[in-house]
């Protein structure tokens, strides 16, 4: 059960002259939900995005250190970024369905990764069911995805990630743009998905972190301050900074 799925070793990251991540060492366990918490600008989203190499798009991002998925070196030249992103999916802060139909939002990635045509409809149905969306959209798969509500759009974005059967799903504040009921649905979904996937989620919501996490990492000013089980972080944090943050004294 305690297999390490994803890890970062001595990770330093800077944008131009500004150092965002300072010597991060962290390991994420398989089939667990790990929350990254900390005040805005502490580098938690930046850390998340370095695992699926989204920083490749920023020419001034400089990355030092090693990141691994199992034994795969994520930044080794020989490893293709598209394969890595297929194995490490991502859900963004604001729901970002593609300007296509609901069905095409899911079939898009399957086409790109050359899944056999006849398997695609079943894979899509399965992913929509897993994302608690099937019953709501099964009769209108041709509808433009932007016509869905915000919460449905976010579940669609999760389904779109799930359909590729990645090993890890990165979530960058997936509920920050949603109402409480939609948030509850996504949280239920996350708890159910962890059976099949390893989930790392950035959140600003302490209650949310408490409700869904197995482990919690607290970051501050680019450093990993404390990393422990959810219970320890919220009930018995060792570091003073963590105590203050959990206690609501800053952040």
């Amino acid at each position: 059960m305690n297999t390490i799925k994803l890890r970062a070793e001595n990770l330093n990251l800077s944008f131009g002259k500004k150092q965002i991540l300072k010597n991060i060492n962290i390991e994420f366990q398989e089939n667990q939900v790990t929350s990254l918490i900390g005040p805005s600008g502490c580098g938690k989203s930046t850390l998340l995005r370095s695992f699926n190499r989204m920083h490749d798009l920023s020419p001034d991002a400089k990355i030092d250190g090693n990141l691994y998925l199992d034994d795969l070196d994520l930044y080794a030249k020989k490893n293709s970024v598209t394969d890595i992103r297929k194995r490490i999916g991502m859900v963004f802060q604001k729901p970002n369905p593609l300007p296509k139909s609901i069905y095409e939002n899911l079939s898009y990635a399957l086409h790109i990764h050359n899944y056999p045509k006849q398997e695609i409809p079943d894979l899509i149905e399965k992913a929509l069911k897993e994302s608690f969306l099937w019953d709501e959209v099964k009769d209108e798969l041709k509808k433009p995805a932007v016509k869905l509500s915000g919460g449905q759009q976010q579940r669609l974005c999760i389904a779109r990630t799930v359909v590729l059967r990645p090993e890890v799903i990165l979530m960058d504040e997936p509920c920050s743009a949603l109402d409480p009921i939609s948030t509850k649905k996504i949280e239920d979904l996350i708890l159910r998905l962890k059976k099949d996937f390893t989930i790392i989620i950035v959140t600003h919501n302490m209650q949310q972190a408490q409700r869904i996490s197995d482990k919690v990492a607290f970051m501050y000013l680019g450093e990993l301050i404390e990393y422990d089980t959810c219970h320890t972080i919220f009930n018995n944090p060792k570091n003073e900074l963590t105590q203050h943050y959990i206690g609501g004294h800053f952040g």
Binding site: N52, M54, L57, P59, T82, D83, I84, R85, K86, G89, M90, F92, K94, N96, P97, L98, P99, K100, Y108, A109, I112, H113, C157, R160, T161, L164
Partner: protein, 292 residues
């Protein structure tokens, strides 16, 4: 005393601005009226059936619009076949792939193309493109539809590139991120997400480029050979509506059928470019709404 003075000046200013605005509209309306009243006089002399069906433009006897219309579209559509892919790919390269330095150099250069006077481009057609085409295709002279199409493509390129680039830039970054995060590469993202999302703007770009190509006069007059017969292909000499008016207007006797005929073809050109431009504006507006 002072207050009423200021009010007077205020009223005067309002009147001035209102009249300049009205003047523009009056001018446009006036052009429209002049073209169409003279066209009506033409159709009193020549039946519309002959005008639209004949195959020869031979002033004093035969007034067939068809060769001119076909010529105009051959050149304009030909120029779009060249300029649209070139323009859209250039725009895509500039906004998606080019390093910032290349972007900074290339963009002003492309925009500068628009500043070249059309007569200079026509000159290029006579001394460079024409002879080039003649030797490539083994024909007597290179003053033909293809020559015109190539030159018009150059002239329409700045419009198409600039508007396409705006359209591609307006596609939210989140679409691109969504696609890339699913493991699509840059090409797949560009062709399957970004360009489809930008398509209303791209259509606007093409329409405005086409409008430019349809209305261009001097370049086609210089470079296309001016044979007023229905062309059979791109290597035939053609004579566009614009070139016909420019060539014949100077010598035509006042208020003859021939004189009115030139107004009639100008009126049709006006209608065609109007429709093309409206279509372009319609799509451009839709894009703006979509993104605000």
């Amino acid at each position: 005393m002072d207050a009423s003075r200021r009010e007077q000046i205020d009223r005067l200013n309002k009147f001035l601005f209102k009249s300049t605005g009205l003047l523009t509209i009056t001018l446009l309306g006036g052009i429209f009226l002049m073209l169409f009243s003279n066209s009506v006089l033409f159709f009193l002399d020549v039946s519309p059936v002959d005008f639209f069906t004949g195959s020869q433009w031979d002033p004093d006897t035969k007034y067939s619009f068809l060769p001119l219309l076909v010529s105009t579209f051959l050149v304009a559509v030909g120029s779009m076949i060249i300029a649209v892919p070139l323009g859209i790919f250039t725009a895509a390269y500039l906004s998606e792939l080019a390093p910032r330095k290349v972007q900074m150099i290339l963009k002003p250069i492309i925009e500068m193309l628009a500043a070249i006077p059309s007569v200079a481009i026509g000159f290029l057609g006579i001394v460079l493109v024409g002879p080039g085409l003649a030797s490539i295709f083994g024909i007597q002279n290179g003053l033909n539809a293809l020559n015109g199409a190539i030159l018009l493509a150059v002239m329409a390129l700045p419009t198409i590139v600039t508007i396409s680039e705006d359209a591609i830039n307006a596609v939210p970054k989140s679409h691109r991120e969504a696609s890339l995060a699913l493991g699509a590469n840059q090409w797949e993202t560009l062709f399957r997400v970004t360009i489809p999302a930008a398509s209303p703007g791209l259509i606007a770009a093409v329409m405005l480029g086409l409008g430019r190509a349809l209305g261009e006069t001097m370049t086609v007059l210089m470079a296309t050979g001016n044979a007023a017969a229905i062309p059979e292909g791109f290597l035939d000499s053609v004579r566009t509506i614009t070139a016909t008016i420019a060539i014949e207007m100077g010598e035509v006797p006042y208020q003859t059928t021939h004189y009115y005929a030139l107004f009639a073809i100008a009126a049709f050109l006006f209608l065609i470019t109007l429709v093309v431009n409206f279509t372009g504006e319609y799509f451009a507006n839709r894009l703006r709404k979509f993104h605000s």
